[in-house]
Amino acid sequence: MMNYFSALVLFLGCSLAHAEGGKFSQPNNPKWKAECGSCHIAYPPRLLTAGDWGHVMGSLDKHFGANATLDAKDAEEILDFLRLNAGSGSRHAAATFRISDTEWFAREHHEISAGVWSNPAIKSRANCTACHINAEKGDWSERGVRMPKGISREHD
C-alpha cells in the first residue's frame, strides 16, 4: 500500500515538474478570465499561493498602481477560484505579491538577461504573451515560446 502511495506521489510530482513550463492543465472560471484578463492576461492561479492571492484580491483598489476594484460578489467568487487552484510552497510566494518575484519565476526564466525584460517589445515581466505567444490559450510550453524579433534570450 505504502509503495503504491509513494509511486503515486512520485508520479504526480513528476507530472507536475514536467508540466512546469508546459501545457499545465488550466482551471477555468469565466469571471476570473474576464475580470483578471482585461488589462493583463489572466495569470494562472497556481503561480501564486492562496495567501498571496488573498492579499492581491484584498487590495484591488491599489493594484500595482491601478484601481482594479470589483463588485464584492464577483471578487469573492474569483478569490475562491484562485485559492482552490493556488500554488503551494514558498517558491510560489512573494513578499511583493508579484508572480514575477517568486522563486519559481526566477528559476524558470534564469536564462533571460536583465536587458531583455526592458526591451520595448517586451516591456516588463508581466507581459507573458510577448514571448509565450499562445499563453492566453493555455499554451505555456517551451515550444510555444517565440522571442520578439531581434531579441535572443541571452541578449543583454
Binding site: 498602481g65 491601478a66 516591456k123 507581459n127 504573451t129
Partner: protein
C-alpha cells in the same frame, strides 16, 4: 412535480426576460441621456462632444494622460494597454458587437477609467456622448 413545473416556468421566464432586457449601445445611450436630462432638460447626446472628451489631454495620470494611449485613435481596430501591452478589443460596437451590451460592464469601466484618466467619475451626460461617439 407541480413544484418542479412551476420552477421550470420561473426559470424560463427569467431567461426570456434577461434576453429582453439585454442592453444595446442605443439603450445605454438613452438611459444615460434620461439621467442627464434630469439636471439639464435640453440634453441631447452628441458624438462631437464625445469625441472631444475621448481625445482630450487630461494630464491627470502620468501613465494614462488621455483615453487614446490605450484605446488608440482608430476605434475600429485593437488598442494596446499602455502599461502591460495587453491587446484591447476595438471600442466600436460596429466592429465589436460585444461592446456596450452590458450596463454593469459599462459602469465598471467608466468608473475605473474615468477616475484614472480624468481624476473623477464621469457624468451621465459624458457617458451618453461617449457611447454616441464610439457607435458611429
Amino acid at each position: 412535480m407541480p413544484y418542479q413545473r412551476s420552477l421550470c416556468t420561473v426559470l424560463l421566464f427569467l431567461s426570456s426576460t434577461s434576453l429582453v432586457l439585454a442592453e444595446t449601445p442605443a439603450s445605454l445611450i438613452s438611459g444615460y441621456a434620461a439621467e442627464a436630462a434630469k439636471t439639464s432638460p435640453a440634453f441631447a447626446p452628441s458624438a462631437q462632444r464625445g469625441q472631444a472628451f475621448f481625445t482630450r489631454e487630461w494630464g491627470i495620470s502620468q501613465k494614462m494622460p488621455n483615453c487614446t494611449v490605450c484605446h488608440g485613435k482608430n476605434l475600429k481596430v485593437d488598442g494596446k494597454h499602455v502599461v502591460t501591452d495587453k491587446r484591447i478589443d476595438p471600442m466600436s460596437p460596429t466592429v465589436n458587437p460585444e461592446r456596450f451590451t452590458s450596463f454593469k460592464k459599462a459602469e465598471k469601466w467608466f468608473k475605473r477609467n474615468c477616475t484614472e484618466v480624468t481624476g473623477r467619475e464621469c457624468t451621465a451626460a459624458e457617458k451618453a456622448d461617449f457611447i454616441q461617439f464610439v457607435s458611429q
